[in-house]
């Protein structure tokens, strides 16, 4: 072991010298290196997530104590948007909209896939870098630009887009309809178009890399489930993001060039518009054709990360490796034929609705298989409670509880009374918001040693997990009842008429938990940035894991492995295999004579 380390050290040293010629700009800013790009994505995403969380804190204040004066609102939003510390209704809508957009796209799509696909695909398949470092670099900078433009909505006079993160026309198409449909909406569309470019550049790169650059012996059935998850995610993105692009493009035409793809028979601002033949429903179809795969683009990488972390820390092979691959593929495929369940009450043909009910509920089967397989992986394990493991178990819990309420919403008849109420808000926040965030945080804690060569503090990690997990349920569990009481989402205030007066205390409880959640994230922020520079240095394979990333030296070696690429001889889940000295057998260890590889299929 010592000898090995020393050898590695020498090799790193020689590599460092080789790269002295690299300038600061090419090394840290326009870098082609997958590890640097991964860090860039992660840090940007952490900052964006923090901003989006702050927005949610601001509108939660209004929901719990409507009309109350809060100096913080006035301090952050100024006299225009929070006169006297009371949130302006237009600004409320804008905060809700931008919170949703940032979380869905910038944090959980760009941030999650961008960080972990970039970091882990080359590392875990045994490649020196992504197929195209240049496209990869472009992918990050398009993402960065898109994030900046999204935020810049707060700097224009009429404020950011405020028609909800789905920006349905005609509301989003008509500047007369609300302030948020003016310049802010144009910025939203530009930002989203750039984001799609970034997602496509990244996605194509991930697919090509996984298919072409696997090292010797790394067959598809020896890939870690993380890589499988990233691959399926990238395919979903490449197939569905262009459709959102077309939707956005047509909306840009409708807004700026007088076309009427989505507009028809509209009377607004005292005049009848000469537009006919368009349909807002067309936009909904195009939007949700991306929008539904999108939620799987968010959750599948988190599930992949969880598979890996649960297996490593249970010191057991992931249960049903092939079933896990099969269920990821089934979820991915089905996600393309379920988008109509967002549109049951748009007046679509009821028969078509029935078809979408059927396809949507089918997704519950592979999802159930995944949940049961996680639970079985824990059974008779030797569970090591790293912070990452806690987050992974938390994900299994929220994935189940959020997924179950999805069954109600997928059932068109039952969807009618709860559609667009807080029941939906509770459902999707638990199943994809909280789950994906827990998965992403699990990944951050687990691969922090690979990202920054150091460890995060364990105790702060424990506090962070329990604080986050408890407050996440504290926020979103009572929210179901608001929905069942008939409270529509995106209402600035529930006290404009007496119907919801008996629900005030639910909103107070929710906001209190939201504040707790926000405070706990400060612990994480501190731990994250502090450990990046001053955390204890990590050893090469701190979790005793099998996958290839832990065979690389603890340095930012360009090309990942100083010598030849590793050769793979077995699947990645040989933990606690009988007859072995240690409770893990890295993928690079050749099979013993007569030893059977894999899950014994």
């Amino acid at each position: 072991m010592e000898n090995h380390d020393q050898q590695a050290h020498e090799q790193i040293h020689s590599h460092e010298e080789e790269h002295h010629s690299e300038s600061f700009v090419s090394k840290y800013i326009f870098s082609f290196d997958h590890k640097t790009i991964s860090r860039q994505f992660l840090i940007t995403a952490v900052i964006m997530a923090f901003l989006a969380m702050t927005m949610s804190f601001l509108f939660r204040l209004q929901l719990a104590w409507p009309g109350e004066h809060f100096w913080i609102l006035n301090f952050l939003l100024g006299d225009k948007w929070a006169p006297g510390g009371v949130l302006d209704p237009g600004m409320y809508m804008a905060l809700v909209t931008i919170h949703g957009t940032i979380m869905v796209f910038m944090v959980l799509t760009g941030g999650l896939s961008g960080t972990f696909s970039n970091l882990l695909i080359p590392y875990q398949i045994g490649a020196r870098d992504m197929a195209s470092g240049f496209l990869n670099m472009l992918s990050y900078w398009f993402f960065f630009l898109s994030s900046v433009i999204m935020l810049s909505g707060f700097l224009v006079e009429t404020g950011p887009a405020s028609g909800g993160w789905t920006v349905y026309p005609p509301l989003s198409a008509l500047p007369q309809a609300m302030d948020g449909s003016k310049l802010g909406m144009t910025l939203w569309l530009i930002s989203m178009s750039l984001f799609i470019v970034s997602a496509l550049l990244g996605g194509l790169n991930y697919i090509v890399t996984v298919i072409n650059l696997r090292t010797k012996g790394m067959s598809m059935t020896r890939l870690p489930l993380t890589v499988w998850a990233f691959l399926v995610t990238a395919i979903l993105g490449v197939l569905s993001f262009p459709v959102l692009f077309s939707a956005a493009l047509l909306l840009i035409f409708d807004r700026s060039f007088g076309t009427s793809f989505y507009l028809s028979d509209i009377y607004i601002g005292g005049q009848a518009l000469e537009l006919s033949g368009g349909s807002p429903i067309l936009y909904e179809h195009l939007f949700w054709f991306l929008g539904h795969p999108e939620v799987y683009i968010i959750i599948i990488p988190a599930l992949g990360i969880t598979s890996e972390i649960i297996s490593v820390n249970s010191r057991k092979p992931i249960f049903g490796y092939r079933a896990m691959i099969g269920s990821i593929m089934a979820i991915g495929f089905l996600s393309f034929i379920v988008w109509g369940h967002h549109m049951f009450i748009t007046g679509m043909n009821p028969f078509l609705g029935s078809v979408f009910v059927f396809t949507t509920l089918l997704i519950a089967i592979p999802s159930a298989v995944k949940a049961f397989n996680y639970i079985t992986t824990l059974w008779k394990g030797n569970i090591q409670y790293t912070p990452a493991m806690l987050f992974a178990i938390g994900l299994v819990s929220t994935f189940i509880s959020g997924g179950l309420t999805g069954i109600i919403l997928a059932d068109s008849a039952l969807d009618i009374p709860v559609h667009d109420t807080y029941f939906v808000v509770a459902h999707f926040h638990i199943v994809m918001g909280v789950s994906a965030i827990l998965g992403m945080l699990a990944g951050v804690y687990h691969w922090f040693p690979k990202l920054f060569l150091r460890h995060m503090n364990k105790k702060l990690g424990y506090i962070h997990f329990w604080g986050t997990f408890i407050s996440a349920y504290g926020v979103f569990f009572p929210m179901h009842f608001l929905g069942l009481a008939g409270v529509p989402r995106r209402y600035y205030s529930n006290s404009a008429f007496p119907m919801f007066d008996n629900l005030v205390n639910i909103n107070v409880i929710i906001t209190c938990f939201a504040i707790l959640a926000a405070l706990v994230q400060l612990v994480f922020l501190f731990n994250f940035f502090y450990s990046m520079f001053r955390g204890p240095k990590s050893v090469q394979n701190p979790w005793n894991a099998n996958t290839l990333e832990w065979t690389t030296p603890m340095a930012n070696t360009h090309g990942n492995w100083p010598g030849a690429l590793p050769e793979v001889h077995r699947w990645p889940y040989d933990y606690s295999k009988p007859g072995k000295e240690q409770d893990f057998v890295p993928q690079t260890v050749p099979l013993a004579e007569g030893e059977v590889d894999g899950g014994g299929h």
Partner: protein, 321 residues
């Protein structure tokens, strides 16, 4: 001045954090700097916290049910709503069972199998039998859910009967207008280009069917135990006609007419008595984001006996008179 104080506080906080970091580092270096390695003690503590969480979580769930079920919507006030509520409860019973079982397993295993030194996990890679079980059982349960759900869906979305009372609901930023079809029970034609301050629905005077149409704002009445068919239109953006008490909802989309129908079965008076709330009213809400005052776009619905309804309507004048 306040801003200045805030800046000072922020700067002081940065210093405070800096010092905390120093203290924290010194403390961890005294302990030997193993602040990241997981010990058996950590595993044991975390496993106990897992179990505690399970118990606390279910206590929280039960507390939620106890305190919030009473403030949920009252019993369904429409014919199909009663069946829908039953179906909802039936589904919820299944889901709650699954939720309970999976969470007990998840957290119990997390508790029981915490890592101990010298312990080895069981090498258990797959089991076709188990995987078949948890593919087939969910499939059967889902089949039941789908069949019940689609039966209800087909019933609700079937065309309204011919003698249903036709009412148009017209949505605009930010109010509702109801138009009754009058004696012929047929709505007259309308065109958005005819909209004026007076004629806010753009009704076409040339269509004889529209001459007896009646327009009401703020509050509209419907008779109990009669099927009502709503024809929904919107002026400029998408709105959604949401009748929470009647378990009914349909979007209003510019450029097209959408439809929805239901039969109210409890009058406003009866519901007030049942809830012991003399101020209770049925309400129509907008449930699709439609602009800044979206949250305040509502209309009161009065359900009354057919005689009262007829008397109320007879007192109204047709729009073109």
């Amino acid at each position: 001045m306040v801003k200045f104080l805030i800046y000072v506080t922020v700067i002081l906080m940065v210093f405070a954090i800096g010092y905390l970091v120093r203290v924290f580092e010194l403390a961890s270096s005294l302990k030997g700097g193993k602040s990241h390695e997981v010990t058996e003690k950590d595993n044991r503590i975390m496993s106990k916290v897992m179990m505690t969480f399970l118990v606390a979580f279910f206590a929280f769930v039960i507390w939620n049910l106890k305190s919030y079920v009473p403030v949920m919507l009252p019993e369904a006030a429409s014919e199909h709503g009663v069946g829908l509520d039953w179906l909802f409860n039936f589904n919820m019973a299944i889901l709650f069972t699954v939720f309970t079982i999976t969470h007990i397993f998840l957290f119990y295993f997390s508790y029981k199998y915490y890592g101990r030194k010298g312990n080895t996990a069981t090498y258990f890679t797959h089991s076709n039998k188990l995987e078949m079980i948890w593919t087939i059982i969910p499939a059967i349960v889902l089949a039941i859910i789908i069949i019940f759900g689609l039966k209800a869906w087909n019933k609700i979305t079937a065309p309204a009967s011919k003698d249903a009372i036709v009412i148009q609901l017209y949505a605009k930023q930010f109010d509702w207008t109801a138009r009754y079809a009058g004696k012929d029970n047929e709505l007259g034609a309308s065109n958005y280009k005819l909209i004026t301050g007076e004629n806010s629905l753009g009704m076409d005077k040339a269509d004889p069917k529209g001459l007896d149409d009646i327009i009401v704002k703020n509050e509209f009445h419907i008779p109990v135990n009669k099927e009502i068919e709503f024809k929904l239109n919107a002026r400029e953006v998408i709105h959604s006609a949401y009748f929470p008490h009647f378990r009914a909802q349909m979007n209003c989309v510019p450029g097209m007419t959408t439809m929805l129908h239901f039969t109210p079965i409890i009058t406003t008076e009866q519901m007030r008595k049942k809830l012991n709330n003399p101020k209770f009213d049925y309400i129509l809400l907008c449930n699709k984001i439609c602009g800044n005052s979206h949250y305040n776009m509502q209309m009161t619905i009065i359900v009354e006996s057919e005689a009262d309804y007829n008397a109320w309507l007879a007192a109204k004048k047709p729009f073109f008179q």
